[in-house]
Amino acid sequence: MRWAWIVFRKELVEILRDRRTLMAIALSAIATPIVLTVVTQISSQTATQSYTVGYSGDVPTGLDTILQAVRLDLKPVADPAAAAKKNVDLGVVFTPTTVDEYYDPTRQSAQIADTRLQTVLGQYNAAKADAALRLKGIDPGILVPLRITAHPLSSVTAAAGNAFLSFFLPYILITMIITGGFSAALDSTAGERERHTLESLLLTPAPRSRILLGKIAAVTTVSLIAAVVAIASMFVAISQIKQTAIHVTLNPIAVPVMVWVAILVAASFSSITLALGTLAKSFRQGQAYVTPLYFVTIFPASIVLFIPDFNPSLAYYLIPILNAVLVLRDAIVHNAVDWAPLAVSTFSLVATGAIAWFAVLRLFTREALLTRS
Protein backbone atom coordinates (compact mmCIF):
# COMPACT_ATOMS: atom_id res chain seq x y z
CA MET A 1 0.00 0.00 0.00
CA ARG A 2 3.03 2.29 0.46
CA TRP A 3 3.40 2.69 -3.30
CA ALA A 4 -0.28 3.54 -3.74
CA TRP A 5 -0.07 6.11 -0.94
CA ILE A 6 2.98 7.77 -2.56
CA VAL A 7 1.22 8.00 -5.92
CA PHE A 8 -2.04 9.15 -4.29
CA ARG A 9 -0.32 12.04 -2.46
CA LYS A 10 1.56 13.19 -5.54
CA GLU A 11 -1.52 12.95 -7.78
CA LEU A 12 -3.62 14.91 -5.30
CA VAL A 13 -1.01 17.69 -5.06
CA GLU A 14 -0.81 17.90 -8.85
CA ILE A 15 -4.59 17.82 -9.32
CA LEU A 16 -5.17 20.53 -6.73
CA ARG A 17 -2.62 22.72 -8.52
CA ASP A 18 -4.34 22.15 -11.84
CA ARG A 19 -6.38 25.16 -12.93
CA ARG A 20 -8.72 23.03 -15.05
CA THR A 21 -9.79 20.90 -12.07
CA LEU A 22 -10.07 23.88 -9.74
CA MET A 23 -12.13 25.73 -12.33
CA ALA A 24 -14.48 22.74 -12.70
CA ILE A 25 -15.00 22.56 -8.93
CA ALA A 26 -15.43 26.33 -8.61
CA LEU A 27 -17.82 26.38 -11.53
CA SER A 28 -19.97 23.70 -9.94
CA ALA A 29 -20.06 25.72 -6.72
CA ILE A 30 -21.20 28.80 -8.61
CA ALA A 31 -23.43 27.13 -11.20
CA THR A 32 -25.68 25.31 -8.73
CA PRO A 33 -26.88 28.47 -6.90
CA ILE A 34 -27.33 30.28 -10.23
CA VAL A 35 -29.46 27.46 -11.65
CA LEU A 36 -31.52 27.29 -8.46
CA THR A 37 -32.09 31.05 -8.43
CA VAL A 38 -33.21 31.03 -12.06
CA VAL A 39 -35.52 28.03 -11.51
CA THR A 40 -37.06 29.67 -8.43
CA GLN A 41 -37.58 32.96 -10.25
CA ILE A 42 -39.23 31.23 -13.21
CA SER A 43 -41.51 29.08 -11.04
CA SER A 44 -42.45 32.09 -8.94
CA GLN A 45 -43.23 34.11 -12.09
CA THR A 46 -45.29 31.25 -13.52
CA ALA A 47 -47.42 31.09 -10.36
CA THR A 48 -48.21 34.81 -10.38
CA GLN A 49 -48.45 35.28 -14.14
CA SER A 50 -51.73 36.42 -15.73
CA TYR A 51 -53.25 34.60 -18.71
CA THR A 52 -55.72 35.91 -21.24
CA VAL A 53 -59.10 34.30 -21.94
CA GLY A 54 -60.67 35.38 -25.23
CA TYR A 55 -64.43 35.01 -24.98
CA SER A 56 -67.70 35.58 -26.75
CA GLY A 57 -71.23 35.61 -25.29
CA ASP A 58 -72.34 36.84 -21.85
CA VAL A 59 -70.10 36.10 -18.88
CA PRO A 60 -72.17 34.59 -16.04
CA THR A 61 -72.73 36.99 -13.15
CA GLY A 62 -69.85 37.08 -10.68
CA LEU A 63 -67.65 34.73 -12.72
CA ASP A 64 -65.63 37.61 -14.15
CA THR A 65 -64.62 38.72 -10.64
CA ILE A 66 -63.48 35.22 -9.69
CA LEU A 67 -61.55 34.82 -12.94
CA GLN A 68 -59.86 38.15 -12.29
CA ALA A 69 -58.88 36.96 -8.80
CA VAL A 70 -57.04 33.93 -10.25
CA ARG A 71 -55.33 36.12 -12.85
CA LEU A 72 -57.37 35.07 -15.88
CA ASP A 73 -57.98 38.29 -17.83
CA LEU A 74 -61.10 38.32 -19.97
CA LYS A 75 -60.89 39.77 -23.46
CA PRO A 76 -63.80 39.82 -25.90
CA VAL A 77 -62.98 38.24 -29.28
CA ALA A 78 -65.02 37.45 -32.37
CA ASP A 79 -63.89 33.85 -32.75
CA PRO A 80 -62.59 32.28 -29.49
CA ALA A 81 -61.49 29.03 -31.21
CA ALA A 82 -59.34 30.89 -33.72
CA ALA A 83 -57.97 33.28 -31.09
CA ALA A 84 -56.95 30.36 -28.82
CA LYS A 85 -54.50 29.17 -31.47
CA LYS A 86 -52.29 32.21 -31.14
CA ASN A 87 -53.67 35.49 -29.76
CA VAL A 88 -54.96 34.40 -26.35
CA ASP A 89 -54.22 31.52 -23.98
CA LEU A 90 -57.79 30.17 -23.88
CA GLY A 91 -60.90 30.67 -25.96
CA VAL A 92 -64.33 30.43 -24.28
CA VAL A 93 -67.84 30.68 -25.71
CA PHE A 94 -70.42 31.43 -22.99
CA THR A 95 -74.08 30.49 -23.57
CA PRO A 96 -76.76 30.64 -20.84
CA THR A 97 -76.32 26.92 -20.05
CA THR A 98 -72.93 25.89 -21.46
CA VAL A 99 -69.29 26.91 -21.58
CA ASP A 100 -67.28 25.79 -24.63
CA GLU A 101 -63.57 25.94 -24.03
CA TYR A 102 -60.91 25.99 -26.77
CA TYR A 103 -57.19 25.57 -26.02
CA ASP A 104 -54.03 24.24 -27.58
CA PRO A 105 -52.51 21.57 -25.27
CA THR A 106 -49.11 21.99 -26.94
CA ARG A 107 -48.83 25.46 -25.35
CA GLN A 108 -47.81 25.43 -21.70
CA SER A 109 -49.59 28.74 -21.03
CA ALA A 110 -52.83 27.17 -22.34
CA GLN A 111 -52.42 24.20 -20.02
CA ILE A 112 -51.93 26.41 -16.95
CA ALA A 113 -54.85 28.68 -17.93
CA ASP A 114 -57.04 25.62 -18.54
CA THR A 115 -56.28 24.23 -15.07
CA ARG A 116 -57.17 27.59 -13.48
CA LEU A 117 -60.41 27.88 -15.50
CA GLN A 118 -61.50 24.30 -14.69
CA THR A 119 -60.89 24.92 -10.98
CA VAL A 120 -62.83 28.20 -11.02
CA LEU A 121 -65.74 26.75 -13.03
CA GLY A 122 -65.95 23.72 -10.72
CA GLN A 123 -66.17 25.95 -7.67
CA TYR A 124 -68.60 28.33 -9.41
CA ASN A 125 -70.92 25.45 -10.41
CA ALA A 126 -70.79 24.01 -6.90
CA ALA A 127 -71.61 27.38 -5.34
CA LYS A 128 -74.55 27.94 -7.75
CA ALA A 129 -75.92 24.45 -7.11
CA ASP A 130 -75.53 24.94 -3.36
CA ALA A 131 -77.46 28.25 -3.48
CA ALA A 132 -80.25 26.80 -5.67
CA LEU A 133 -80.76 23.81 -3.38
CA ARG A 134 -80.82 25.98 -0.25
CA LEU A 135 -83.43 28.23 -1.92
CA LYS A 136 -85.64 25.14 -2.31
CA GLY A 137 -84.98 24.01 1.26
CA ILE A 138 -82.88 21.03 0.26
CA ASP A 139 -79.63 20.14 2.06
CA PRO A 140 -76.81 20.66 -0.48
CA GLY A 141 -75.06 17.72 1.19
CA ILE A 142 -77.06 15.32 -1.00
CA LEU A 143 -74.75 16.30 -3.88
CA VAL A 144 -71.80 14.87 -1.94
CA PRO A 145 -72.83 11.41 -0.72
CA LEU A 146 -69.20 10.61 0.21
CA ARG A 147 -67.58 13.56 1.94
CA ILE A 148 -63.78 13.40 1.64
CA THR A 149 -61.54 14.65 4.41
CA ALA A 150 -57.83 14.49 3.59
CA HIS A 151 -55.27 13.83 6.32
CA PRO A 152 -51.77 14.49 4.91
CA LEU A 153 -49.13 12.53 6.75
CA SER A 154 -46.46 15.13 6.18
CA SER A 155 -46.55 18.84 5.72
CA VAL A 156 -47.03 20.17 2.23
CA THR A 157 -43.84 22.20 2.62
CA ALA A 158 -41.85 19.14 3.64
CA ALA A 159 -43.33 17.15 0.75
CA ALA A 160 -42.36 19.90 -1.69
CA GLY A 161 -38.88 19.97 -0.19
CA ASN A 162 -38.52 16.19 -0.48
CA ALA A 163 -39.79 16.19 -4.04
CA PHE A 164 -37.31 18.91 -4.91
CA LEU A 165 -34.40 17.13 -3.22
CA SER A 166 -35.31 13.71 -4.58
CA PHE A 167 -34.57 14.72 -8.15
CA PHE A 168 -32.16 17.63 -7.78
CA LEU A 169 -29.77 16.20 -5.23
CA PRO A 170 -29.10 12.82 -6.91
CA TYR A 171 -28.74 14.52 -10.28
CA ILE A 172 -26.23 17.08 -9.03
CA LEU A 173 -24.36 14.47 -6.99
CA ILE A 174 -23.99 12.03 -9.88
CA THR A 175 -23.18 14.73 -12.43
CA MET A 176 -20.49 16.24 -10.26
CA ILE A 177 -18.97 12.88 -9.34
CA ILE A 178 -18.67 11.94 -13.00
CA THR A 179 -17.58 15.29 -14.41
CA GLY A 180 -15.56 16.45 -11.39
CA GLY A 181 -12.99 13.70 -11.89
CA PHE A 182 -12.78 13.81 -15.70
CA SER A 183 -9.95 16.29 -15.94
CA ALA A 184 -7.97 14.66 -13.13
CA ALA A 185 -8.37 11.18 -14.63
CA LEU A 186 -7.26 12.30 -18.08
CA ASP A 187 -4.37 14.30 -16.67
CA SER A 188 -3.01 11.32 -14.77
CA THR A 189 -3.23 8.94 -17.74
CA ALA A 190 -3.30 10.57 -21.18
CA GLY A 191 -1.57 13.65 -19.70
CA GLU A 192 1.18 11.46 -18.28
CA ARG A 193 1.76 9.96 -21.71
CA GLU A 194 1.62 13.38 -23.40
CA ARG A 195 4.18 14.88 -20.97
CA HIS A 196 6.50 11.87 -21.42
CA THR A 197 6.49 11.09 -17.70
CA LEU A 198 4.83 7.71 -18.09
CA GLU A 199 8.01 5.86 -19.03
CA SER A 200 9.90 7.20 -16.02
CA LEU A 201 7.01 6.26 -13.75
CA LEU A 202 6.87 2.70 -15.08
CA LEU A 203 10.64 2.40 -14.67
CA THR A 204 10.33 2.59 -10.90
CA PRO A 205 10.09 -0.63 -8.88
CA ALA A 206 6.50 0.25 -7.90
CA PRO A 207 4.07 -2.41 -9.21
CA ARG A 208 1.71 -1.02 -11.84
CA SER A 209 -1.34 -2.19 -9.89
CA ARG A 210 -0.26 0.01 -6.95
CA ILE A 211 0.42 2.97 -9.22
CA LEU A 212 -3.08 2.59 -10.61
CA LEU A 213 -4.61 2.21 -7.18
CA GLY A 214 -3.03 5.51 -6.12
CA LYS A 215 -4.35 7.21 -9.24
CA ILE A 216 -7.88 5.82 -8.80
CA ALA A 217 -7.93 6.89 -5.15
CA ALA A 218 -6.83 10.43 -6.10
CA VAL A 219 -9.42 10.79 -8.87
CA THR A 220 -12.13 9.37 -6.58
CA THR A 221 -11.20 11.90 -3.90
CA VAL A 222 -11.37 14.81 -6.34
CA SER A 223 -14.74 13.60 -7.68
CA LEU A 224 -16.11 13.46 -4.15
CA ILE A 225 -14.71 16.91 -3.33
CA ALA A 226 -16.44 18.30 -6.44
CA ALA A 227 -19.72 16.65 -5.42
CA VAL A 228 -19.51 17.86 -1.82
CA VAL A 229 -18.78 21.43 -2.98
CA ALA A 230 -21.74 21.36 -5.40
CA ILE A 231 -24.15 19.99 -2.80
CA ALA A 232 -22.95 22.34 -0.07
CA SER A 233 -23.42 25.30 -2.39
CA MET A 234 -26.90 23.99 -3.26
CA PHE A 235 -27.93 23.93 0.40
CA VAL A 236 -26.43 27.37 0.99
CA ALA A 237 -28.32 28.68 -2.05
CA ILE A 238 -31.62 27.19 -0.89
CA SER A 239 -31.25 28.78 2.53
CA GLN A 240 -30.48 32.15 0.95
CA ILE A 241 -33.21 32.26 -1.70
CA LYS A 242 -36.09 34.03 0.03
CA GLN A 243 -38.71 33.51 -2.68
CA THR A 244 -38.66 29.75 -2.41
CA ALA A 245 -41.53 28.24 -0.47
CA ILE A 246 -39.75 24.93 -0.11
CA HIS A 247 -37.95 24.05 3.04
CA VAL A 248 -35.40 21.28 2.57
CA THR A 249 -33.63 19.27 5.22
CA LEU A 250 -31.74 16.11 4.43
CA ASN A 251 -33.09 13.36 6.62
CA PRO A 252 -30.65 11.32 8.74
CA ILE A 253 -31.22 8.14 6.72
CA ALA A 254 -30.38 9.80 3.41
CA VAL A 255 -26.99 11.06 4.54
CA PRO A 256 -25.17 7.71 5.04
CA VAL A 257 -26.90 6.27 1.96
CA MET A 258 -25.73 9.26 -0.06
CA VAL A 259 -22.15 8.93 1.21
CA TRP A 260 -22.07 5.19 0.48
CA VAL A 261 -23.53 5.54 -3.01
CA ALA A 262 -21.28 8.51 -3.78
CA ILE A 263 -18.14 6.56 -2.86
CA LEU A 264 -19.21 3.56 -4.96
CA VAL A 265 -20.07 5.68 -7.99
CA ALA A 266 -16.91 7.77 -7.69
CA ALA A 267 -14.62 4.75 -7.33
CA SER A 268 -16.14 2.78 -10.20
CA PHE A 269 -16.29 5.76 -12.58
CA SER A 270 -12.75 6.80 -11.71
CA SER A 271 -11.63 3.39 -12.96
CA ILE A 272 -13.67 3.79 -16.14
CA THR A 273 -12.35 7.26 -16.94
CA LEU A 274 -8.79 6.15 -16.15
CA ALA A 275 -9.25 3.23 -18.55
CA LEU A 276 -10.45 5.58 -21.29
CA GLY A 277 -7.61 7.98 -20.51
CA THR A 278 -5.11 5.13 -20.77
CA LEU A 279 -6.39 4.39 -24.26
CA ALA A 280 -5.85 8.00 -25.34
CA LYS A 281 -2.57 9.38 -26.64
CA SER A 282 -3.29 12.92 -25.50
CA PHE A 283 -5.51 14.88 -23.13
CA ARG A 284 -7.56 16.13 -26.07
CA GLN A 285 -8.12 12.62 -27.40
CA GLY A 286 -9.06 11.55 -23.88
CA GLN A 287 -11.72 14.26 -23.77
CA ALA A 288 -13.20 12.87 -26.96
CA TYR A 289 -13.38 9.43 -25.32
CA VAL A 290 -14.93 10.45 -21.99
CA THR A 291 -17.50 12.98 -23.20
CA PRO A 292 -19.84 10.28 -24.62
CA LEU A 293 -19.47 8.42 -21.32
CA TYR A 294 -21.15 11.33 -19.56
CA PHE A 295 -24.18 11.19 -21.84
CA VAL A 296 -24.40 7.40 -21.76
CA THR A 297 -24.38 7.35 -17.96
CA ILE A 298 -26.47 10.40 -17.27
CA PHE A 299 -29.27 9.45 -19.69
CA PRO A 300 -30.77 6.65 -17.54
CA ALA A 301 -30.49 8.92 -14.50
CA SER A 302 -32.62 11.50 -16.28
CA ILE A 303 -35.58 9.12 -16.18
CA VAL A 304 -36.10 10.12 -12.57
CA LEU A 305 -36.23 13.77 -13.62
CA PHE A 306 -38.91 13.16 -16.20
CA ILE A 307 -40.88 10.46 -14.39
CA PRO A 308 -40.78 11.44 -10.69
CA ASP A 309 -43.08 8.57 -9.68
CA PHE A 310 -41.07 5.95 -11.58
CA ASN A 311 -41.48 2.82 -9.48
CA PRO A 312 -39.09 0.23 -10.89
CA SER A 313 -38.66 -3.47 -10.25
CA LEU A 314 -35.49 -4.71 -8.53
CA ALA A 315 -33.89 -5.48 -11.90
CA TYR A 316 -33.65 -1.77 -12.69
CA TYR A 317 -31.31 -1.38 -9.72
CA LEU A 318 -28.72 -3.36 -11.67
CA ILE A 319 -28.25 -0.43 -14.06
CA PRO A 320 -25.31 1.64 -12.83
CA ILE A 321 -26.02 5.32 -12.13
CA LEU A 322 -29.79 4.81 -12.51
CA ASN A 323 -29.59 2.62 -9.40
CA ALA A 324 -27.68 5.30 -7.52
CA VAL A 325 -30.26 7.93 -8.40
CA LEU A 326 -33.16 5.64 -7.45
CA VAL A 327 -31.64 4.61 -4.12
CA LEU A 328 -30.99 8.24 -3.22
CA ARG A 329 -34.48 9.27 -4.29
CA ASP A 330 -36.04 6.50 -2.18
CA ALA A 331 -33.99 7.43 0.88
CA ILE A 332 -34.89 11.11 0.56
CA VAL A 333 -38.60 10.67 -0.17
CA HIS A 334 -39.39 7.76 2.15
CA ASN A 335 -36.87 8.58 4.87
CA ALA A 336 -36.07 4.88 5.04
CA VAL A 337 -33.62 2.43 3.52
CA ASP A 338 -35.01 -0.36 1.41
CA TRP A 339 -32.25 -2.92 1.86
CA ALA A 340 -32.92 -5.08 -1.18
CA PRO A 341 -32.52 -2.27 -3.76
CA LEU A 342 -29.51 -0.93 -1.84
CA ALA A 343 -27.89 -4.39 -1.87
CA VAL A 344 -28.56 -4.87 -5.60
CA SER A 345 -27.24 -1.37 -6.36
CA THR A 346 -24.13 -1.98 -4.26
CA PHE A 347 -23.49 -5.26 -6.07
CA SER A 348 -23.98 -3.57 -9.45
CA LEU A 349 -21.67 -0.65 -8.70
CA VAL A 350 -18.98 -2.85 -7.13
CA ALA A 351 -19.15 -5.17 -10.16
CA THR A 352 -18.90 -2.16 -12.50
CA GLY A 353 -15.89 -0.92 -10.55
CA ALA A 354 -14.25 -4.36 -10.56
CA ILE A 355 -14.70 -4.79 -14.32
CA ALA A 356 -13.33 -1.29 -14.91
CA TRP A 357 -10.40 -2.01 -12.55
CA PHE A 358 -9.42 -5.17 -14.43
CA ALA A 359 -9.80 -3.37 -17.75
CA VAL A 360 -7.62 -0.44 -16.74
CA LEU A 361 -5.04 -2.75 -15.12
CA ARG A 362 -4.86 -4.79 -18.31
CA LEU A 363 -4.44 -1.63 -20.39
CA PHE A 364 -1.86 -0.28 -17.99
CA THR A 365 0.30 -3.40 -18.02
CA ARG A 366 0.40 -4.05 -21.75
CA GLU A 367 3.47 -3.10 -23.75
CA ALA A 368 1.40 -1.07 -26.20
CA LEU A 369 0.97 1.51 -23.44
CA LEU A 370 4.45 2.75 -24.30
CA THR A 371 5.02 1.57 -27.83
CA ARG A 372 1.79 3.19 -29.14
CA SER A 373 3.07 6.61 -28.16
Binding site: H196, E199, P205, L370
Partner: protein, 234 residues
Protein backbone atom coordinates in the same frame (compact mmCIF):
# COMPACT_ATOMS: atom_id res chain seq x y z
CA UNK B 1 24.45 -8.96 -20.05
CA UNK B 2 22.23 -9.20 -23.11
CA UNK B 3 22.15 -12.59 -24.83
CA UNK B 4 20.56 -13.34 -28.23
CA UNK B 5 17.76 -10.81 -27.67
CA UNK B 6 14.79 -11.01 -30.03
CA UNK B 7 11.88 -8.60 -29.96
CA UNK B 8 8.91 -8.06 -32.24
CA UNK B 9 6.71 -4.97 -32.00
CA UNK B 10 3.52 -5.48 -33.95
CA UNK B 11 4.54 -6.78 -37.36
CA UNK B 12 8.13 -5.54 -37.11
CA UNK B 13 10.95 -7.77 -35.98
CA UNK B 14 12.89 -5.02 -34.20
CA UNK B 15 15.69 -7.03 -32.57
CA UNK B 16 17.31 -10.10 -34.13
CA UNK B 17 19.65 -11.81 -31.73
CA UNK B 18 21.32 -8.81 -30.10
CA UNK B 19 24.07 -9.75 -27.62
CA UNK B 20 26.53 -7.61 -25.65
CA UNK B 21 27.87 -7.16 -22.19
CA UNK B 22 28.57 -3.94 -20.29
CA UNK B 23 30.57 -3.79 -17.09
CA UNK B 24 31.13 -1.61 -14.03
CA UNK B 25 33.17 1.57 -14.41
CA UNK B 26 32.76 1.88 -18.15
CA UNK B 27 30.75 3.83 -20.67
CA UNK B 28 29.27 1.40 -23.13
CA UNK B 29 28.07 2.88 -26.41
CA UNK B 30 25.01 1.54 -28.18
CA UNK B 31 25.25 2.99 -31.66
CA UNK B 32 23.05 2.79 -34.68
CA UNK B 33 20.95 4.83 -37.07
CA UNK B 34 17.40 5.84 -36.21
CA UNK B 35 15.16 2.77 -36.09
CA UNK B 36 18.07 0.38 -35.55
CA UNK B 37 16.56 -0.95 -32.31
CA UNK B 38 18.59 0.96 -29.69
CA UNK B 39 15.61 2.26 -27.71
CA UNK B 40 13.86 -1.11 -27.87
CA UNK B 41 17.03 -2.74 -26.54
CA UNK B 42 17.23 -0.28 -23.64
CA UNK B 43 13.50 -0.59 -22.88
CA UNK B 44 13.86 -4.37 -22.80
CA UNK B 45 16.86 -4.17 -20.46
CA UNK B 46 14.95 -1.97 -18.03
CA UNK B 47 11.91 -4.34 -18.16
CA UNK B 48 9.48 -1.97 -19.88
CA UNK B 49 9.28 -4.53 -22.66
CA UNK B 50 9.57 -8.30 -22.32
CA UNK B 51 12.01 -10.17 -24.58
CA UNK B 52 10.44 -12.60 -27.05
CA UNK B 53 13.61 -14.69 -27.10
CA UNK B 54 16.96 -14.46 -25.37
CA UNK B 55 18.00 -13.45 -21.91
CA UNK B 56 18.95 -10.27 -20.07
CA UNK B 57 20.67 -10.16 -16.73
CA UNK B 58 21.37 -7.02 -14.71
CA UNK B 59 23.76 -7.58 -11.81
CA UNK B 60 22.65 -11.20 -11.63
CA UNK B 61 18.92 -10.47 -11.81
CA UNK B 62 16.97 -11.84 -14.77
CA UNK B 63 14.58 -9.29 -16.31
CA UNK B 64 11.86 -11.93 -16.70
CA UNK B 65 11.92 -13.37 -13.20
CA UNK B 66 12.97 -10.35 -11.11
CA UNK B 67 11.84 -7.22 -12.98
CA UNK B 68 11.38 -5.09 -9.85
CA UNK B 69 14.92 -5.95 -8.67
CA UNK B 70 16.26 -4.92 -12.08
CA UNK B 71 14.35 -1.61 -11.97
CA UNK B 72 15.78 -0.90 -8.48
CA UNK B 73 19.26 -1.11 -9.99
CA UNK B 74 18.70 0.90 -13.14
CA UNK B 75 18.35 4.62 -13.80
CA UNK B 76 17.24 5.81 -17.24
CA UNK B 77 17.55 9.23 -18.89
CA UNK B 78 15.82 9.72 -22.23
CA UNK B 79 15.70 12.47 -24.86
CA UNK B 80 12.06 13.16 -24.04
CA UNK B 81 12.38 15.22 -20.87
CA UNK B 82 9.20 14.37 -19.03
CA UNK B 83 8.82 16.06 -15.67
CA UNK B 84 5.65 16.83 -13.74
CA UNK B 85 5.00 20.48 -14.55
CA UNK B 86 2.99 21.36 -11.45
CA UNK B 87 5.52 19.88 -9.04
CA UNK B 88 8.68 21.74 -8.13
CA UNK B 89 12.03 20.37 -9.24
CA UNK B 90 12.59 19.14 -5.69
CA UNK B 91 9.15 17.50 -5.48
CA UNK B 92 9.78 15.73 -8.80
CA UNK B 93 13.02 14.27 -7.51
CA UNK B 94 11.57 13.35 -4.10
CA UNK B 95 8.63 11.56 -5.76
CA UNK B 96 10.97 9.31 -7.70
CA UNK B 97 13.15 8.76 -4.63
CA UNK B 98 10.13 7.38 -2.80
CA UNK B 99 9.05 5.28 -5.79
CA UNK B 100 12.66 4.11 -6.10
CA UNK B 101 12.26 2.54 -2.68
CA UNK B 102 14.50 4.97 -0.84
CA UNK B 103 13.53 4.71 2.86
CA UNK B 104 11.44 7.71 3.96
CA UNK B 105 14.04 8.79 6.53
CA UNK B 106 16.68 9.02 3.78
CA UNK B 107 14.62 10.78 1.12
CA UNK B 108 15.52 14.36 2.02
CA UNK B 109 19.19 13.56 2.42
CA UNK B 110 19.32 11.80 -0.97
CA UNK B 111 17.37 14.56 -2.68
CA UNK B 112 19.66 17.23 -1.21
CA UNK B 113 22.69 15.25 -2.34
CA UNK B 114 21.61 15.00 -6.00
CA UNK B 115 20.46 18.63 -6.01
CA UNK B 116 23.93 19.66 -4.93
CA UNK B 117 25.70 17.25 -7.25
CA UNK B 118 23.81 18.45 -10.32
CA UNK B 119 23.78 22.11 -9.25
CA UNK B 120 19.99 22.32 -9.10
CA UNK B 121 19.76 24.38 -5.87
CA UNK B 122 18.99 27.67 -7.58
CA UNK B 123 15.77 26.35 -9.15
CA UNK B 124 14.91 23.42 -6.85
CA UNK B 125 11.89 25.28 -5.47
CA UNK B 126 10.50 26.32 -8.85
CA UNK B 127 7.70 24.48 -10.55
CA UNK B 128 8.99 22.35 -13.41
CA UNK B 129 6.72 24.13 -15.91
CA UNK B 130 8.84 27.27 -15.52
CA UNK B 131 12.21 25.58 -16.11
CA UNK B 132 14.34 25.66 -19.26
CA UNK B 133 15.04 22.47 -21.26
CA UNK B 134 18.51 22.18 -19.76
CA UNK B 135 17.17 22.62 -16.23
CA UNK B 136 14.45 20.05 -16.89
CA UNK B 137 17.04 17.61 -18.20
CA UNK B 138 19.02 18.06 -14.98
CA UNK B 139 15.85 17.25 -13.01
CA UNK B 140 15.32 14.19 -15.21
CA UNK B 141 18.88 13.03 -14.46
CA UNK B 142 18.45 13.71 -10.76
CA UNK B 143 15.24 11.70 -10.78
CA UNK B 144 17.00 8.80 -12.51
CA UNK B 145 19.92 8.66 -10.08
CA UNK B 146 18.30 9.62 -6.78
CA UNK B 147 17.95 5.96 -5.77
CA UNK B 148 21.68 5.52 -6.52
CA UNK B 149 21.42 2.82 -9.20
CA UNK B 150 24.60 0.98 -10.21
CA UNK B 151 23.49 0.95 -13.88
CA UNK B 152 22.75 4.17 -15.77
CA UNK B 153 21.23 4.23 -19.23
CA UNK B 154 21.19 7.33 -21.41
CA UNK B 155 18.98 7.15 -24.50
CA UNK B 156 19.90 10.00 -26.87
CA UNK B 157 20.10 12.32 -23.84
CA UNK B 158 21.49 15.35 -25.66
CA UNK B 159 19.30 15.38 -28.74
CA UNK B 160 17.02 18.21 -27.48
CA UNK B 161 19.67 20.22 -25.67
CA UNK B 162 21.97 23.12 -26.49
CA UNK B 163 25.76 22.85 -26.50
CA UNK B 164 26.28 23.78 -22.85
CA UNK B 165 23.58 21.49 -21.52
CA UNK B 166 24.92 18.63 -23.71
CA UNK B 167 28.39 19.12 -22.29
CA UNK B 168 27.04 18.89 -18.75
CA UNK B 169 25.41 15.56 -19.60
CA UNK B 170 28.65 14.24 -21.07
CA UNK B 171 30.59 15.39 -18.02
CA UNK B 172 28.03 13.69 -15.81
CA UNK B 173 28.49 10.40 -17.67
CA UNK B 174 32.25 10.59 -17.27
CA UNK B 175 31.86 11.36 -13.58
CA UNK B 176 29.49 8.40 -13.17
CA UNK B 177 32.05 6.11 -14.79
CA UNK B 178 34.67 7.32 -12.33
CA UNK B 179 32.26 6.42 -9.53
CA UNK B 180 32.21 2.85 -10.79
CA UNK B 181 28.80 2.94 -12.45
CA UNK B 182 27.99 0.96 -15.56
CA UNK B 183 26.91 3.62 -18.07
CA UNK B 184 25.10 2.55 -21.25
CA UNK B 185 24.97 5.39 -23.75
CA UNK B 186 22.67 5.04 -26.73
CA UNK B 187 23.33 7.58 -29.45
CA UNK B 188 23.68 8.24 -33.14
CA UNK B 189 26.06 11.16 -32.49
CA UNK B 190 29.29 9.33 -33.31
CA UNK B 191 31.51 12.17 -32.19
CA UNK B 192 30.13 11.84 -28.63
CA UNK B 193 30.51 8.09 -28.70
CA UNK B 194 34.09 8.30 -29.92
CA UNK B 195 35.04 10.69 -27.12
CA UNK B 196 33.18 8.99 -24.27
CA UNK B 197 32.73 5.29 -24.83
CA UNK B 198 35.14 2.63 -23.69
CA UNK B 199 33.42 0.00 -25.77
CA UNK B 200 30.73 0.16 -28.44
CA UNK B 201 28.18 -2.05 -30.11
CA UNK B 202 26.80 -0.96 -33.46
CA UNK B 203 23.28 -2.13 -34.20
CA UNK B 204 21.69 -2.03 -37.61
CA UNK B 205 18.23 -3.37 -38.49
CA UNK B 206 18.06 -5.16 -35.17
CA UNK B 207 21.40 -6.98 -35.57
CA UNK B 208 24.78 -6.33 -33.98
CA UNK B 209 27.15 -5.46 -36.81
CA UNK B 210 30.20 -4.50 -34.74
CA UNK B 211 31.19 -4.96 -31.15
CA UNK B 212 34.33 -4.20 -29.16
CA UNK B 213 36.52 -1.54 -27.58
CA UNK B 214 36.01 1.84 -29.24
CA UNK B 215 39.65 2.13 -30.14
CA UNK B 216 39.64 -1.30 -31.78
CA UNK B 217 36.53 -0.59 -33.87
CA UNK B 218 38.04 2.74 -34.87
CA UNK B 219 41.41 1.17 -35.72
CA UNK B 220 39.79 -1.37 -37.96
CA UNK B 221 38.45 1.45 -40.05
CA UNK B 222 39.86 4.98 -40.32
CA UNK B 223 37.48 6.40 -37.72
CA UNK B 224 34.21 5.52 -36.04
CA UNK B 225 32.08 7.39 -38.53
CA UNK B 226 33.69 5.54 -41.43
CA UNK B 227 33.18 2.22 -39.74
CA UNK B 228 29.59 3.10 -38.91
CA UNK B 229 28.77 4.13 -42.47
CA UNK B 230 30.51 1.11 -43.91
CA UNK B 231 28.72 -1.27 -41.58
CA UNK B 232 25.20 0.13 -41.93
CA UNK B 233 25.38 0.53 -45.70
CA UNK B 234 26.90 -2.88 -46.29
Amino acid sequence: MVERLEKRLGKNQVLRGVSFEAGKGEIFGLLGPNGAGKTTTLRTICTLLAPDEGRIEVLGFDTRTAPAEVRRRVGVVTAEIGVYPRLTARENIAYFARLGDVPERDVNRRVDAVIERLDISSFAGQRAESLSSGQKQKVAIARAIVHDPPVLMFDEPTSNLDVLASKEIRDFMVESRSRGKCVIFSTHVLHDAERLCDRVTIIHQGRVVANGPTAEVRRKYSDLEDSFLELVTA
